[in-house]
Protein backbone atom coordinates (compact mmCIF):
# COMPACT_ATOMS: atom_id res chain seq x y z
CA UNK A 1 0.00 0.00 0.00
CA UNK A 2 1.49 3.29 -1.08
CA UNK A 3 1.81 6.22 1.25
CA UNK A 4 3.81 9.39 1.17
CA UNK A 5 6.57 9.14 3.75
CA UNK A 6 6.95 12.91 3.79
CA UNK A 7 3.33 13.30 4.87
CA UNK A 8 4.07 11.07 7.83
CA UNK A 9 7.26 12.91 8.62
CA UNK A 10 5.42 16.22 8.50
CA UNK A 11 2.80 14.81 10.86
CA UNK A 12 5.51 13.58 13.24
CA UNK A 13 6.75 17.17 13.56
CA UNK A 14 3.38 18.56 14.55
CA UNK A 15 2.63 19.36 18.19
CA UNK A 16 2.31 16.15 20.17
CA UNK A 17 -0.33 15.21 22.70
CA UNK A 18 2.36 13.39 24.68
CA UNK A 19 6.06 12.72 24.18
CA UNK A 20 8.50 10.86 26.37
CA UNK A 21 11.46 8.53 26.33
CA UNK A 22 10.14 5.02 26.95
CA UNK A 23 11.41 1.51 26.59
CA UNK A 24 9.90 -0.14 23.54
CA UNK A 25 9.86 -3.72 22.33
CA UNK A 26 8.36 -4.91 19.04
CA UNK A 27 5.98 -7.85 18.65
CA UNK A 28 8.45 -10.31 17.13
CA UNK A 29 9.78 -13.11 19.30
CA UNK A 30 13.18 -12.27 20.66
CA UNK A 31 12.70 -8.49 20.37
CA UNK A 32 14.82 -6.49 22.71
CA UNK A 33 13.68 -3.49 24.74
CA UNK A 34 15.14 -0.30 23.26
CA UNK A 35 14.95 3.27 24.45
CA UNK A 36 12.89 5.35 22.09
CA UNK A 37 11.44 8.85 22.05
CA UNK A 38 7.76 8.08 21.70
CA UNK A 39 5.44 10.79 20.41
CA UNK A 40 1.67 10.75 20.20
CA UNK A 41 0.33 13.01 17.42
CA UNK A 42 -3.43 12.80 16.81
CA UNK A 43 -4.11 9.11 16.07
CA UNK A 44 -0.52 8.16 15.24
CA UNK A 45 2.24 6.95 17.51
CA UNK A 46 5.73 7.82 16.28
CA UNK A 47 8.93 6.51 17.77
CA UNK A 48 12.41 7.94 17.26
CA UNK A 49 15.94 6.95 18.17
CA UNK A 50 16.71 9.45 20.87
CA UNK A 51 19.07 11.64 18.82
CA UNK A 52 17.33 11.60 15.48
CA UNK A 53 14.93 13.99 13.77
CA UNK A 54 13.19 11.37 11.64
CA UNK A 55 11.03 8.71 13.24
CA UNK A 56 12.08 5.09 13.02
CA UNK A 57 8.45 4.11 12.71
CA UNK A 58 4.78 4.95 13.08
CA UNK A 59 1.70 3.07 14.27
CA UNK A 60 -1.88 4.00 13.49
CA UNK A 61 -3.86 3.95 16.72
CA UNK A 62 -7.27 2.83 15.49
CA UNK A 63 -9.00 -0.38 16.57
CA UNK A 64 -6.24 -1.03 19.02
CA UNK A 65 -6.25 -2.31 22.58
CA UNK A 66 -4.08 -0.78 25.28
CA UNK A 67 -3.41 -3.19 28.14
CA UNK A 68 -1.51 -2.79 31.37
CA UNK A 69 1.21 -5.42 31.49
CA UNK A 70 3.15 -4.44 34.61
CA UNK A 71 2.72 -1.65 37.14
CA UNK A 72 4.80 0.61 34.90
CA UNK A 73 4.36 -1.06 31.53
CA UNK A 74 1.66 -1.41 28.90
CA UNK A 75 1.16 -2.96 25.50
CA UNK A 76 -0.64 -1.98 22.32
CA UNK A 77 -2.21 -4.63 20.13
CA UNK A 78 -4.64 -4.45 17.22
CA UNK A 79 -8.09 -6.00 17.33
CA UNK A 80 -7.47 -8.09 14.24
CA UNK A 81 -4.34 -9.69 15.73
CA UNK A 82 -4.47 -9.49 19.54
CA UNK A 83 -1.42 -11.69 20.20
CA UNK A 84 0.90 -9.34 18.37
CA UNK A 85 1.87 -6.84 21.06
CA UNK A 86 4.06 -3.75 21.11
CA UNK A 87 5.43 -3.37 24.64
CA UNK A 88 6.28 -0.11 26.35
CA UNK A 89 8.15 0.38 29.63
CA UNK A 90 7.49 3.61 31.52
CA UNK A 91 9.45 5.32 34.23
CA UNK A 92 6.69 5.07 36.78
CA UNK A 93 3.19 3.76 37.35
CA UNK A 94 1.86 7.32 37.03
CA UNK A 95 3.50 7.75 33.64
CA UNK A 96 2.11 4.41 32.56
CA UNK A 97 -1.44 5.46 33.51
CA UNK A 98 -0.99 8.77 31.74
CA UNK A 99 0.08 7.11 28.50
CA UNK A 100 -2.60 4.43 28.60
CA UNK A 101 -5.31 7.05 29.08
CA UNK A 102 -3.99 9.22 26.27
CA UNK A 103 -3.63 6.30 23.86
CA UNK A 104 -7.16 5.05 24.52
CA UNK A 105 -8.56 8.49 23.74
CA UNK A 106 -6.37 9.10 20.71
CA UNK A 107 -8.32 7.31 18.01
CA UNK A 108 -10.56 9.17 15.63
CA UNK A 109 -13.18 6.47 16.15
CA UNK A 110 -13.18 6.99 19.92
CA UNK A 111 -13.56 10.74 19.51
CA UNK A 112 -16.33 10.33 16.98
CA UNK A 113 -18.22 7.94 19.27
CA UNK A 114 -17.82 10.39 22.16
CA UNK A 115 -19.05 13.27 20.05
CA UNK A 116 -22.11 11.31 18.94
CA UNK A 117 -22.75 10.29 22.54
CA UNK A 118 -22.64 13.88 23.87
CA UNK A 119 -24.65 15.16 20.94
CA UNK A 120 -27.37 12.61 21.62
CA UNK A 121 -27.44 13.22 25.36
CA UNK A 122 -27.57 16.99 24.96
CA UNK A 123 -30.32 16.70 22.40
CA UNK A 124 -32.32 14.48 24.76
CA UNK A 125 -31.94 16.97 27.59
CA UNK A 126 -32.49 20.21 25.70
CA UNK A 127 -34.41 19.18 22.60
CA UNK A 128 -31.78 21.00 20.55
CA UNK A 129 -28.94 19.62 18.45
CA UNK A 130 -25.69 21.09 19.78
CA UNK A 131 -23.99 20.66 16.40
CA UNK A 132 -26.37 23.04 14.68
CA UNK A 133 -24.56 26.08 16.03
CA UNK A 134 -21.45 24.85 14.18
CA UNK A 135 -23.29 24.15 10.97
CA UNK A 136 -22.27 20.50 10.90
CA UNK A 137 -25.38 18.70 12.07
CA UNK A 138 -25.95 17.11 8.66
CA UNK A 139 -22.50 15.62 8.38
CA UNK A 140 -22.53 11.91 7.66
CA UNK A 141 -19.62 11.23 9.99
CA UNK A 142 -21.54 12.50 13.02
CA UNK A 143 -24.65 10.47 12.43
CA UNK A 144 -25.44 7.40 14.42
CA UNK A 145 -25.28 5.47 11.14
CA UNK A 146 -23.74 2.08 11.58
CA UNK A 147 -23.81 -0.92 9.38
CA UNK A 148 -23.92 -0.83 5.63
CA UNK A 149 -27.06 -2.07 3.90
Amino acid sequence: MRYNEKELQALSRQPAELAAELGMRGPKKGSVLKRRLVKLVVNFLFYFRTDEAEPVGALLLERCRVTQEEPSGFSISFLEDPERKYHFACGSEAQCQEWMGALRRASYEFMRRSLIFYRNEIQKMTGKDPLEQFGISEEARFQLGGLKA
Partner: protein, 185 residues
Protein backbone atom coordinates in the same frame (compact mmCIF):
# COMPACT_ATOMS: atom_id res chain seq x y z
CA UNK B 1 10.56 5.40 8.44
CA UNK B 2 8.42 2.33 8.73
CA UNK B 3 4.67 2.76 8.79
CA UNK B 4 3.39 -0.44 10.40
CA UNK B 5 1.04 -1.33 7.59
CA UNK B 6 -0.72 -4.02 9.58
CA UNK B 7 -2.04 -1.33 11.91
CA UNK B 8 -3.44 0.59 8.95
CA UNK B 9 -4.78 -2.44 7.11
CA UNK B 10 -6.45 -3.78 10.23
CA UNK B 11 -8.24 -0.44 10.53
CA UNK B 12 -9.23 -0.43 6.86
CA UNK B 13 -10.50 -4.00 6.88
CA UNK B 14 -11.98 -3.90 10.35
CA UNK B 15 -14.23 -1.02 9.46
CA UNK B 16 -15.60 -2.40 6.22
CA UNK B 17 -18.81 -3.54 7.88
CA UNK B 18 -19.48 0.06 8.88
CA UNK B 19 -20.42 2.83 6.50
CA UNK B 20 -17.40 5.04 5.78
CA UNK B 21 -17.56 8.82 6.05
CA UNK B 22 -17.67 8.94 2.29
CA UNK B 23 -16.74 6.66 -0.58
CA UNK B 24 -17.00 6.69 -4.34
CA UNK B 25 -15.24 7.08 -7.63
CA UNK B 26 -12.78 9.88 -8.14
CA UNK B 27 -10.31 10.46 -10.91
CA UNK B 28 -6.74 10.70 -9.70
CA UNK B 29 -3.88 12.17 -11.65
CA UNK B 30 -0.83 9.92 -11.44
CA UNK B 31 2.46 11.13 -10.05
CA UNK B 32 4.49 10.09 -13.08
CA UNK B 33 1.79 9.16 -15.59
CA UNK B 34 -0.15 12.39 -15.88
CA UNK B 35 -3.37 10.90 -17.13
CA UNK B 36 -6.32 10.57 -14.74
CA UNK B 37 -7.06 7.10 -13.40
CA UNK B 38 -10.41 5.99 -12.08
CA UNK B 39 -10.07 4.92 -8.46
CA UNK B 40 -12.42 3.95 -5.64
CA UNK B 41 -11.85 6.28 -2.70
CA UNK B 42 -12.81 5.56 0.91
CA UNK B 43 -12.72 8.29 3.55
CA UNK B 44 -12.60 7.24 7.17
CA UNK B 45 -11.65 9.73 9.81
CA UNK B 46 -8.49 11.56 8.79
CA UNK B 47 -7.44 8.86 6.32
CA UNK B 48 -8.29 8.72 2.63
CA UNK B 49 -7.73 5.33 1.04
CA UNK B 50 -7.82 4.66 -2.69
CA UNK B 51 -8.36 1.30 -4.30
CA UNK B 52 -8.15 0.01 -7.82
CA UNK B 53 -11.54 -1.62 -7.36
CA UNK B 54 -14.28 -1.21 -4.77
CA UNK B 55 -14.04 -4.80 -3.55
CA UNK B 56 -10.24 -4.93 -3.18
CA UNK B 57 -8.92 -6.28 0.12
CA UNK B 58 -5.89 -3.99 0.14
CA UNK B 59 -5.87 -0.31 -0.82
CA UNK B 60 -3.46 0.94 -3.47
CA UNK B 61 -2.60 3.89 -1.34
CA UNK B 62 -3.30 6.20 1.53
CA UNK B 63 -3.43 9.98 1.94
CA UNK B 64 -3.15 11.53 5.40
CA UNK B 65 -5.64 14.34 5.76
CA UNK B 66 -4.51 16.00 8.95
CA UNK B 67 -4.24 19.76 8.35
CA UNK B 68 -4.76 19.46 4.60
CA UNK B 69 -6.13 22.11 2.36
CA UNK B 70 -8.80 21.13 -0.09
CA UNK B 71 -9.67 23.43 -2.97
CA UNK B 72 -11.57 23.29 -6.19
CA UNK B 73 -9.23 23.65 -9.15
CA UNK B 74 -10.69 25.93 -11.78
CA UNK B 75 -9.30 25.88 -15.27
CA UNK B 76 -8.05 22.30 -15.06
CA UNK B 77 -8.27 19.98 -18.08
CA UNK B 78 -10.77 17.82 -16.17
CA UNK B 79 -14.04 19.38 -15.07
CA UNK B 80 -15.02 19.13 -11.37
CA UNK B 81 -11.33 19.08 -10.44
CA UNK B 82 -9.90 19.72 -7.01
CA UNK B 83 -6.64 19.50 -5.14
CA UNK B 84 -5.70 18.07 -1.77
CA UNK B 85 -2.64 19.90 -0.52
CA UNK B 86 -0.84 18.16 2.31
CA UNK B 87 0.97 20.44 4.76
CA UNK B 88 4.64 21.28 4.71
CA UNK B 89 6.11 21.17 8.20
CA UNK B 90 9.71 22.27 8.69
CA UNK B 91 10.53 21.86 5.02
CA UNK B 92 9.07 18.42 4.48
CA UNK B 93 5.78 17.16 3.09
CA UNK B 94 3.63 19.38 0.95
CA UNK B 95 2.28 17.38 -1.95
CA UNK B 96 -0.62 18.30 -4.20
CA UNK B 97 -2.94 15.43 -5.07
CA UNK B 98 -4.89 16.29 -8.20
CA UNK B 99 -8.30 14.73 -8.26
CA UNK B 100 -11.57 15.17 -10.09
CA UNK B 101 -15.14 14.22 -9.29
CA UNK B 102 -17.59 12.82 -11.78
CA UNK B 103 -20.04 15.70 -11.53
CA UNK B 104 -20.64 18.97 -9.71
CA UNK B 105 -22.68 17.38 -6.96
CA UNK B 106 -20.00 14.81 -6.18
CA UNK B 107 -17.40 17.58 -6.17
CA UNK B 108 -19.35 19.55 -3.59
CA UNK B 109 -19.93 16.52 -1.40
CA UNK B 110 -16.28 15.45 -1.47
CA UNK B 111 -14.98 18.94 -0.76
CA UNK B 112 -17.28 19.17 2.21
CA UNK B 113 -16.31 15.75 3.55
CA UNK B 114 -12.57 16.27 3.07
CA UNK B 115 -12.51 19.77 4.53
CA UNK B 116 -13.80 18.38 7.82
CA UNK B 117 -11.69 15.26 7.99
CA UNK B 118 -9.13 16.02 10.65
CA UNK B 119 -8.68 14.72 14.18
CA UNK B 120 -7.86 18.18 15.42
CA UNK B 121 -11.36 19.39 14.59
CA UNK B 122 -12.86 16.72 16.82
CA UNK B 123 -10.32 17.53 19.50
CA UNK B 124 -11.41 21.15 19.31
CA UNK B 125 -15.09 20.32 19.48
CA UNK B 126 -15.22 17.64 22.15
CA UNK B 127 -14.36 19.59 25.32
CA UNK B 128 -17.11 22.08 24.51
CA UNK B 129 -19.69 19.35 24.12
CA UNK B 130 -18.52 17.44 27.16
CA UNK B 131 -18.62 20.58 29.28
CA UNK B 132 -22.10 21.39 28.02
CA UNK B 133 -23.24 17.87 28.88
CA UNK B 134 -21.78 17.98 32.37
CA UNK B 135 -23.37 21.36 33.08
CA UNK B 136 -26.74 20.05 31.98
CA UNK B 137 -26.32 16.98 34.18
CA UNK B 138 -25.41 19.13 37.14
CA UNK B 139 -28.41 21.42 36.59
CA UNK B 140 -30.67 18.38 36.36
CA UNK B 141 -29.11 16.71 39.41
CA UNK B 142 -28.13 13.81 37.18
CA UNK B 143 -25.00 11.69 37.30
CA UNK B 144 -23.12 12.18 34.01
CA UNK B 145 -22.31 8.98 32.17
CA UNK B 146 -19.44 8.29 29.85
CA UNK B 147 -19.28 7.53 26.16
CA UNK B 148 -19.27 3.80 25.47
CA UNK B 149 -16.03 1.82 25.50
CA UNK B 150 -13.60 3.66 27.62
CA UNK B 151 -13.21 6.57 29.96
CA UNK B 152 -14.90 9.90 29.47
CA UNK B 153 -13.05 12.39 27.37
CA UNK B 154 -10.81 14.58 29.44
CA UNK B 155 -9.89 17.88 27.86
CA UNK B 156 -6.25 17.67 26.96
CA UNK B 157 -5.98 21.09 25.37
CA UNK B 158 -4.54 23.68 27.68
CA UNK B 159 -6.91 26.38 26.46
CA UNK B 160 -10.37 25.31 25.28
CA UNK B 161 -11.31 26.82 21.95
CA UNK B 162 -13.65 29.72 22.21
CA UNK B 163 -16.98 29.59 20.43
CA UNK B 164 -15.64 32.20 18.05
CA UNK B 165 -12.67 30.05 17.09
CA UNK B 166 -14.85 27.02 16.58
CA UNK B 167 -17.32 29.06 14.56
CA UNK B 168 -14.47 30.29 12.34
CA UNK B 169 -13.14 26.80 11.94
CA UNK B 170 -16.38 25.26 10.75
CA UNK B 171 -17.35 28.39 8.88
CA UNK B 172 -14.44 27.60 6.56
CA UNK B 173 -16.14 24.38 5.49
CA UNK B 174 -19.40 26.15 4.78
CA UNK B 175 -17.66 28.75 2.65
CA UNK B 176 -15.96 26.05 0.58
CA UNK B 177 -19.31 24.48 -0.11
CA UNK B 178 -20.87 27.80 -1.03
CA UNK B 179 -18.13 28.44 -3.59
CA UNK B 180 -18.75 25.09 -5.18
CA UNK B 181 -22.53 25.01 -4.96
CA UNK B 182 -23.04 28.43 -6.45
CA UNK B 183 -26.68 29.18 -7.00
CA UNK B 184 -29.20 26.70 -5.53
CA UNK B 185 -31.14 24.52 -8.05
Amino acid sequence: MKLHQKSVLSFFRGCRAQAPDREGILLKKGARNTSYQRRWFVLRGNLLFYLENQADHTPLGLILLENCQVEPRLGATEPHAFTILTPRVEGTGGRAYKLAAENQEELGAWLWALAGASCRQLVALLPTLEAQYRELCQAAGQEPSSPPEGCGFVATLSTPSSFQELHEHFGKEIRVLQVVRGRPQ
